[in-house]
């Protein structure tokens, strides 16, 4: 009985998240956040407060369009040092990163 309830709950959760926005698996989320702090951090700062690149904190990107930010991550910005990351980050993963950045990482 308990198992059945768990199963139903899992199905519901699965349907809800699939119908909303795709979430990378937990292990991949950890990788992406590590990449964000350690490697994106080499220009944007480990705490994302900015460096040679602009800050990525919620207040700094709140007004920016999600799709535009996803494009920046995937394809970079010509004429600036921002490189394209589509060789190792998918569109769904970039969308997840944008959501996380707008929420703020420290609140998690």
């Amino acid at each position: 009985m308990v198992e059945l309830r768990t199963l139903v709950a899992m199905l519901v959760v699965g349907l809800v998240s699939a119908s909303a926005q795709a979430e990378p698996p937990q292990g991949r989320q950890d990788q992406l956040l590590y990449r964000l702090r350690q490697d994106c951090g080499s220009c944007h700062g480990m705490t994302l407060k900015g460096g040679l690149g602009p800050p990525l904190l919620p207040a700094a990107i709140a007004g920016k369009d999600d799709d535009a930010l996803i494009e920046v991550i995937l394809h970079g910005v010509a004429g600036t040092p921002m490189p394209p990351w589509d060789f190792e980050i998918s569109r769904d993963e970039a969308a997840w990163l944008v959501r996380r950045l707008k929420e703020g990482l420290d609140e998690s």
Binding site: D39, T47, G51, L52
Partner: protein, 394 residues
């Protein structure tokens, strides 16, 4: 029961590296150094005679892209943090002597020729601030203002130069400034405009004569002869990419540890998996060496016989060793994922490498090219040995 608890506590205290350095009496700092543990906001004091860690110094703030310069007696390290923090640490006692937060966002610093002034280059507010090396009290402020509307530029590539000068580049403005601090309270600044698009880092030759700024926005390097400022800035290595589309750069090259070996220099190309070999009398490219990825640091062993190179993400698990006379890669090492920095001991028998993603620092013998020691470190980034105290530009 109680005795065993006390013994355990005592052992914990003894084995804790945070409680001052265990130096064992009088000693010098010539074989000491600092390793940045950037996420933890602390540095380890290490020594290169026995390849051990002596202690850690904590509470240094946000150490992303942190760099360190040394007092002229080699006792104190000045740690420049991304959060604008300027921390003075004592290598002999393992203590944080003083810490100030002097700006919102900083990138590096330098110490003056006479050792009395420490300068910090800031992104926000863009400019250079100068402090008393002893007390860290503010001495001078040089805002990097440019253009008609008084915008402020991020400042990069700050170095010390002979005659009590600091030289730095304005990333947003495309300028190089030379500031004479012989009267510390009123710096005399000479500005060189339109040196090129997006100077991203700068360096000074070990003899203190030439300042070079690498350009991100175009193929070329800006060169300033500090012995003859009236000559102005020259462009060298123009069009080294031959008009080809540059490759994406996942970590900006650093010029500080540039490789000066005999008559030639080895410079990382930007957006190309190559090192440029430049004749330092004519400033012409004489060769280029294809390497594993985008070079980040290209550093010469102090005798100039070898150049060691690390690379940008995602090819940053590799270090290549170049034999200078033949300009051939003689060894491709794989120390581990994310090799961020390398530093030679003063006479070059060892090189220290930080392997960020596996939380360790590796020591290699530069003659056998074999690993001789491994030290644990928490996400290590920069490695800075105290022998830098005696060198122009470091």
């Amino acid at each position: 029961m109680r005795a065993s608890w006390i013994i355990t506590a005592a052992l914990l205290v003894l084995s804790s590296p945070a409680l001052g350095c265990q130096l064992g009496g009088l000693r010098g700092t010539g074989d000491l150094g600092l390793v940045v543990e950037r996420e933890a906001g602390r540095v380890q004091v290490i020594e290169t005679s026995g390849d051990t860690s002596l202690c850690t110094i904590e509470g240094l703030g946000d150490l992303s892209h942190a760099s360190i310069t040394y007092s002229r007696d080699g006792r104190y390290g000045y740690v420049f943090g991304r959060d604008g923090g300027l921390s003075k640490v004592d290598l002999l006692t393992g203590e944080l002597v003083k810490r100030i937060v002097q700006a919102g966002n900083a990138i590096g610093g330098a110490i003056s020729q006479d050792g009395r002034l420490v300068a910090v280059s800031n992104y926000d507010p863009g400019g250079v601030r100068v402090f008393d090396a002893d007390t860290l009290a503010p001495v001078a402020d040089i805002p990097a203002t440019y253009g008609a509307d008084g915008a402020r530029s991020k400042v990069v590539g700050l170095v010390d130069a002979p005659d009590q000068r600091f030289v730095f580049s304005l990333y947003d403005a495309g300028e190089i400034w030379v500031a004479d601090l012989s009267d510390p309270a009123s710096p005399q600044v000479r500005k060189f405009r339109e040196v090129g698009d997006q100077p991203y880092d700068g360096l000074i030759t070990p003899d203190g004569r030439y300042y070079l700024a690498g350009l991100f926005g175009e193929d070329g390097v800006a060169l300033l002869d500090l012995w003859d400022l009236d000559k102005g800035v020259q462009r060298i290595l123009d069009g080294y990419g031959h008009g080809e589309e540059p490759l994406p750069v996942y970590k900006m090259p650093h010029l500080e540890g540039w490789a000066s070996a005999g008559d030639v220099l080895f410079l990382p190309a930007v957006g190309r998996h190559e090192l440029l070999v430049v004749d330092r009398r004519t400033w012409q490219e004489v060769d280029r060496i294809a390497v594993h990825g985008q070079p980040v640091f290209a550093e010469a062993r102090p005798d100039g016989r070898q150049v060691w190179v690390n690379f940008a993400h995602p090819l940053n698990d590799v270090v290549q060793v170049i034999d200078v006379p033949s300009r051939k890669i003689v060894r491709t090492l794989r120390p581990g994922p994310a090799v961020l920095h390398l530093e030679f001991t003063p006479r070059g028998e060892q090189v220290w490498l930080s392997v960020r993603d596996e939380d360790r620092v590796e020591v290699y013998d530069t003659r056998t090219l074999e690993r001789v020691a491994t030290l644990p470190a928490d996400k290590p980034s920069g490695i800075f040995l105290a022998a830098r105290a005696d060198r122009i530009g470091l």
